[in-house]
Amino acid sequence: MSTNVARVLVCLEEVGAEYEVVPVDMTTGEHKSPAHDARNPFGQVPVFQDGDLILYESRAISKYILRKGGSDLLRESNLAESAMVDVWLKVESGHFSSTMSPIIFQCLVVPFLGGETDTKIVQENLEKLKTALGVYEARLSRFKYLAGDFVSLADISHFPAAYYLLGGSHTSVLDAYPHVKAWLAEVMDRPSVKKVVELMKLPSA
């Protein structure tokens, strides 16, 4: 399952919304079809529809779902707290998921398509990941969660890439960052996350 789709599903589960997943088969290039292009002109997944409103970009979709569902995972009633959520959501996107993405692609997708993992790309990105994890370790030694002592979308948004990190061959990279390891375990233990993980394990995912 696309990490970006998983992110949106977790938010739907957090607010207890009813939803339908419409599969878009990327292995057959369905995401580049005219029908999908009409939904997302950048040809990516997920696309989200709520009545007449069509959205893409998983973190934008996630915020919409959480606001509409009355969740407190954005802390928008508090200026300082919501600012910290925005900061660490950007960190997730720019430093964590962006370095995990090529690792996941090389280690999982490339072999699945019959190719050979480019270990140079994996190593380069693992080094970048370790740099980021160093920052996270310092942060999580001071605060229970990334944005402060409250859980937020900034934490949960890490789960899709974290799922692949925890299930892959580079999990030991986390051993040097005990606070990060404990924090990730807590995120993965959320009922919403566990529910989506089950969906991710399905062969059709």
Binding site: P41, L55, R59, E76, L79, A80, D86, V87, S93, R139
Partner: protein
């Protein structure tokens, strides 16, 4: 009196410019504190306290320290919002969502295409290097594909998130202003709606106040 709002980093650095544009839009007093990239000041212990990734900008508003320019921009526009300056549209769930969508599009699609062009044409020569023409050409091709989508969107709506200006539009300006000063500015001639949108944004008084401080190349 010392302004409570401080932006750390040089005005011309695009991610710093993004924040300054927002501060000018809401009309809040601020101070720019330079951080000397050339001497590696952005990796100094003092700056790492403000931005643990050693990047620019960092931001201080009273007790609150922030980094990541788009997060800072959101904070500025949320805290100092007025009845005239409503650039996040948070009073309307659908409009706010569309602002979020196009702000992420800017970060994930537009920025990766345009930033290497600016970096190669402007920053690399400044440190005595030679621009990588292959990278410039590849980035221009990427940018044109992105502009195709923008042209379609902006021929339907005055601005990206709808018929109202928002942070999503303004966030494009820092790199775009530099782009307009390169020989490739004529690329926009093939995208009339995009061109008109850029000129509309550039004519905003707050934007003019900021870019009038840029040197002419």
């Amino acid at each position: 009196m010392e302004a409570p709002v401080k932006v750390f980093g040089p005005l011309l650095s695009p991610n710093v410019t993004r924040v300054i544009l927002c501060l000018e839009e809401v009309g809040v007093e601020y101070e720019i504190v330079n951080v000397d990239f050339n001497t590696g000041e952005h990796k100094s212990p003092q700056h790492l306290q403000r931005n643990p990734f050693g990047q620019l900008p960092a931001f201080q508003d009273g007790e609150l320290m922030l980094f990541e320019s788009r997060a800072i921009s959101r904070h500025v526009l949320r805290k100092y919002k007025t009845s005239e300056v409503n650039l996040l549209r948070e009073d309307n769930t659908s409009e706010a969502a569309l602002v979020d969508v196009w702000l992420d599009v800017e970060a994930h699609q537009y920025d990766p295409a345009i930033a290497p062009i600016i970096y190669q044409l402007i920053l690399v020569p400044m440190s005595g290097g030679t621009p990588d023409q292959k990278l410039i050409d590849e980035s221009l091709e990427k940018m044109k594909k992105v502009l195709d989508v923008y042209e379609a969107q902006l021929s339907k709506h005055k601005y990206l998130a709808g018929d109202f200006v928002s942070l999503a539009d303004l966030s494009h300006l820092p790199y775009t202003v530099h782009f307009m000063a390169t020989p490739f500015a004529s690329v926009l001639d093939s995208y009339p709606s995009v061109k008109a949108w850029v000129h509309d944004l550039l004519s905003r008084p707050a934007v003019q106040r900021v870019i009038s401080q840029f040197p002419r190349y």
